[in-house]
């Protein structure tokens, strides 16, 4: 007989593989006489029964095996994890298992709200402890919701963080499993975390406390009061108060961040005596477990309740170039992203534009050699500064679209886990506006046969002065992109070629995918009631801003790169010692700092006696549809302007500056992976089949090769 659920009080160390680390630690606290919320554990056998009966036990390894995880960027791993998460959401708990779980959880729910927490056997052992790997949900009030949350906790065994630390965790499809802790919710007046030993100073202990629930503290959206203690004597060494503005409170379901009433904002969440009791709790737990502990707690009236305890581990330094911790820091809370949005929209972008404008207004030719060199130096400094901002602010802000994706999937339960991107695609990006300008010009050419001839000869001036002006404006606006890398005559000829191609195609507007976004938006919002609906609308608005900036930031940054290159080009013919920029200033990839990080390029070992030819390459299906055409492989800016309509764009990474070829491309293949990369965004907008994340695409698919792009399944077939 399977043991699907076990009461916390009946858990003993022999059951570790059934109940996981978190449940085991809480059971021990109960035996030691500490106050712990009532609870039970849904065992790993329930997880195994679920994945076996639903076929997920094979679907998960297939999803993980599509492509080597070594070759994936964090964005792709996040996508894989989202697909697995959605697969769990799509498969209800089979009847018999549901009945057993209902019998166990039902009585607890009849007494009040519950928390549903992960308790993985691999997690929280003293050897490895990674906070934030797996999901937990607080304030679950209905049985249906509880069963949903249990599935989400199960799926978090395969979270992006867990997949990135798979080696350290010994994560394996064959042996890994997940138990789930179900506990009553204790909505204390103050809550927090205590470290029996300060990770930064072994002679101290730390207590952090907030008003309300501690979810806000754990995810960083609520700033805590912080006490430090002398570890041995328990004497308070310091107390730091933040500006107390918000707190986490139970919502109708789940947790909401609310504004603190002034009365509470001015009061610390704990008295010194209470803080000292928390310190004692952490020290007692450390004594019982034998290693320093991180304890979550809450004060319910006059009673101190221990919520969970786990060993403290300091994150290891990792090998040089290990950027996993940085990647995971990109996952931000809603509150954090709202703050970031204000900073970006109100401070950073205007300042960046002002810098670009100032540089554009400098007449470089009139500068003396010394002045010019100083100007180059200054531009290098600005380039470095804005590239740093790109990495510290713009890239993290892109997580807004991902946060929304998860939120959307939970509410709407679509079969396609990336359906949410259709709601964001209505956003007018700079590259979409530029393509509209191109279309206006193409329309004139389409209407006038003789103008078409003039365009073919790049002689538009006499034939249609208005078109000529439009061309000038387009070229000026596009100066920072790949066109800026060409000399003015070449650039003009290049745009004429594009127009020629466009004019022989149907209008771009008609190419844009007709989607009833309004209806979709309405349907999404109708999944929420009252205040939750307002929150959903705010979440969508944030996601749209995030999505737009994801595309536009490269254009803004491109202007800075262009101005830097302009000054360097002026200095070189004068024979001046032109200093090199700190980061690469490649116009095709203005954010080329990526190269400063170790990237996992495909590296086949020598194939003695054989030559290797790709036949079917696997990537991620990023825009659906099937296309067949000759590959146009982009290695340098000039390749872009050779692009003929009906060709398949093959490149390392689609930059917004390349957007103009998308409307006439039959398909897109790119090395950089992810559903939210530029190529995927623009391809979906025009309904062009797209596969991203194709390892070493540029080297494996030479220009001229015939390829089939399967945007449904993420497969690129190369004809011999």
């Amino acid at each position: 007989m399977k043991r699907l659920a076990i009461g916390l009080e009946a858990v003993d160390p022999e059951l570790r593989m059934l109940v996981g680390g978190k449940a085991l630690a809480l059971a021990k606290l109960i035996r030691l006489g500490h106050l712990v919320p009532r609870g039970l554990c849904v065992t790993t056998e329930a997880y195994e029964s679920y994945v076996r009966q639903t076929g997920l036990h094979e679907q998960i390894p297939m999803e993980l095996g599509r492509k080597s995880l070594h070759e994936m960027r964090w964005e792709e791993i996040w996508d894989v994890s989202l697909r697995i998460r959605n697969a769990f959401l799509q498969r209800p708990v089979p009847d018999r298992l549901r009945r057993m779980l209902t019998l166990a959880i039902g009585p607890m729910l009849s007494r009040g709200a519950i928390a549903v927490r992960s308790s993985a056997p691999e997690e929280d052992s003293s050897a490895r402890s990674f906070a934030g790997l797996h999901e937990s949900y607080v304030n679950v009030t209905s049985l249906a919701d509880a069963l949903d949350r249990i599935r989400l906790v199960w799926s978090s065994l395969w979270s992006d963080a867990a997949l990135m630390y798979r080696k350290e965790l010994n994560l394996s499809v064959e042996t890994s499993s997940m138990a789930v802790l179900i506990q009553e919710v204790v909505a204390g007046r103050s809550s927090g975390v205590a470290f029996s030993q300060d990770p930064g100073d072994a002679s101290r202990s730390v207590v952090e406390a907030v008003h309300g629930l501690n979810q806000g503290l754990v995810d960083g959206s609520v700033q805590p009061d912080r006490w430090t203690f002398e570890r041995r004597s328990g004497q308070i060494l310091s107390h730091a108060q933040p500006k107390r503005e918000v707190f986490a409170a139970p919502g109708r379901s789940g947790v909401r961040i609310k504004r603190l009433p002034p009365r509470k904002a001015n009061r610390r969440p704990l008295s010194d005596v209470e803080a000292h009791r928390v310190f004692r709790l952490a020290r007692d737990v450390e004594d019982a477990f034998g290693v320093p502990q991180d304890v979550e707690w809450t004060w319910k009236g006059r009673r101190l309740v221990a919520l969970q305890a786990r060993p403290i581990t300091t994150p290891s330094e990792g090998r040089p170039g290990d950027r996993r911790a940085w990647d995971l820091s990109l996952r931000r809370s809603f509150e954090n992203l709202c703050g970031l949005r204000r900073r970006i929209e109100q401070e950073l972008l205007p300042a960046m534009e002002a810098d670009a404008r100032r540089m554009a207004n400098v007449d470089l030719q009139s500068l003396s050699d010394d002045e010019l060199l100083a100007e180059v130096e200054e531009r290098i400094a600005l380039h470095t500064k804005w590239l740093d901002v790109y990495w510290t602010d713009f890239i993290p802000f892109a997580h807004g679209a991902r946060l929304f994706g998860q939120f959307y999937n939970d509410a709407v339960r679509p079969s396609d886990p990336h359906e949410f991107t259709a709601l964001l695609a209505s956003v007018e990006t700079i590259s979409a506006k530029r393509n509209d300008a191109l279309e206006q010009m193409a329309w004139r050419v389409r209407e006038d046969g003789r103008l078409y001839g003039a365009v073919c000869r790049a002689e538009t001036e006499d034939r249609d002065p208005e078109l000529d002006e439009m061309l000038d404006a387009y070229l000026a606006d596009f100066a920072e992109g790949p066109l800026g890398a060409l000399d003015p005559v070449e650039a003009r000829a290049a745009v004429c070629r594009i127009l020629q191609n466009l004019a022989s195609c149907p209008s771009l507007k008609s190419l844009r995918r007709p989607r009833d976004r309004e209806a979709m938006e309405k349907q999404f919002l109708s999944a929420f009631q009252g205040a939750d609906r307002a929150f959903a609308a705010e979440m969508l608005d944030l996601a749209k801003a995030s999505y737009r900036l994801r595309d536009d930031d490269n254009v803004y940054l491109g202007r800075i790169v262009h101005e830097l290159n302009r000054a360097r080009s002026e200095a070189r013919p004068r024979g001046l010692p032109v200093p090199k920029p700190r980061y690469s200033a490649d116009v095709l990839r203005p954010t080329a700092r990526e190269a400063a990080h170790p990237s996992h390029q495909a590296a086949e070992s020598p194939q003695a006696g054989f030559s290797v030819n790709p036949r079917q390459l696997i990537g991620q299906p990023a825009s659906s549809g099937l296309a067949d055409g000759r590959a146009r492989t982009i290695r340098k800016a000039a390749d872009l302007f050779q692009f003929e309509s009906g060709e398949v764009l093959v490149c390392d990474a689609v930059d917004p500056g390349m957007a103009f070829v998308l409307p006439i491309a039959a398909g897109v293949v790119e090395r950089r992976g992810g559903m939210l990369v530029h190529g995927a965004i623009i391809a979906r907008e025009y309904g062009v089949p797209c596969v991203t994340g194709v390892t070493d695409a540029v080297n494996r698919i030479p220009s001229g090769t015939r390829v089939t792009v399967d945007g449904y399944l993420g497969i690129v077939t190369v004809s011999s």
Binding site: G65, R66, S172, S605, V612, Q616
Partner: protein, 155 residues
């Protein structure tokens, strides 16, 4: 994580093929006659350079007749185990090439390789009615990760 999920950067296609050919005992041989395809299960062994695949058959079989009629054949070797996990773990190689009886000068080498793998077939192979054949591989088409397909051609 099982090795097949995550072969890493160093593991090349040729190594994967060599491992597959060494680990499998049986292959499916495809021949045809008058436009009618025909498949047979055969015990096989690969030459160390992977460019030849040897198998044995009695001279009265349909497959032998077919091979004589048209030497263009294909041979498939795969690591499936008839389990769900095959979809993500199995690797399959289809060798395309021309078949002929192993010539006298090469027979002792091929016999050695073949019998090292199938010692229980010694009497069978040595019987005068049995022929030792070799497919000269023109190309391997290798499928991994369910749908990733690459071609290896001898240089």
């Amino acid at each position: 994580m099982a090795k097949t999920h995550d072969p890493g950067l160093g593991e090349g296609l040729r190594d994967a093929l060599a491992e597959l050919l060494a680990s499998q005992h049986l292959a499916v041989l495809a021949t045809h006659r008058d436009g009618q395809p025909y498949c047979s299960l055969v015990g096989f062994a690969a030459s160390p350079d992977l460019k030849g695949l040897a198998f044995a058959t009695t001279r009265s079989t349909r497959k032998f007749e077919n091979c004589l009629a048209d030497p263009r054949v294909a041979m498939m070797i795969d690591s499936s185990r008839n389990e769900d996990s095959d979809f993500h773990e199995a690797i399959a190689a289809t060798a395309v090439g021309e078949v002929a009886e192993v010539e006298k000068t090469a027979r002792s080498r091929y016999l050695r390789w073949y019998l090292a793998k199938h010692p229980h077939l010694t009497d069978f192979v040595m019987a005068p009615s049995c022929a030792l054949l070799r497919v000269r591989v023109r190309k391997y088409v290798i499928v991994r990760r369910f749908q990733e397909v690459s071609e290896l051609e001898p240089r």
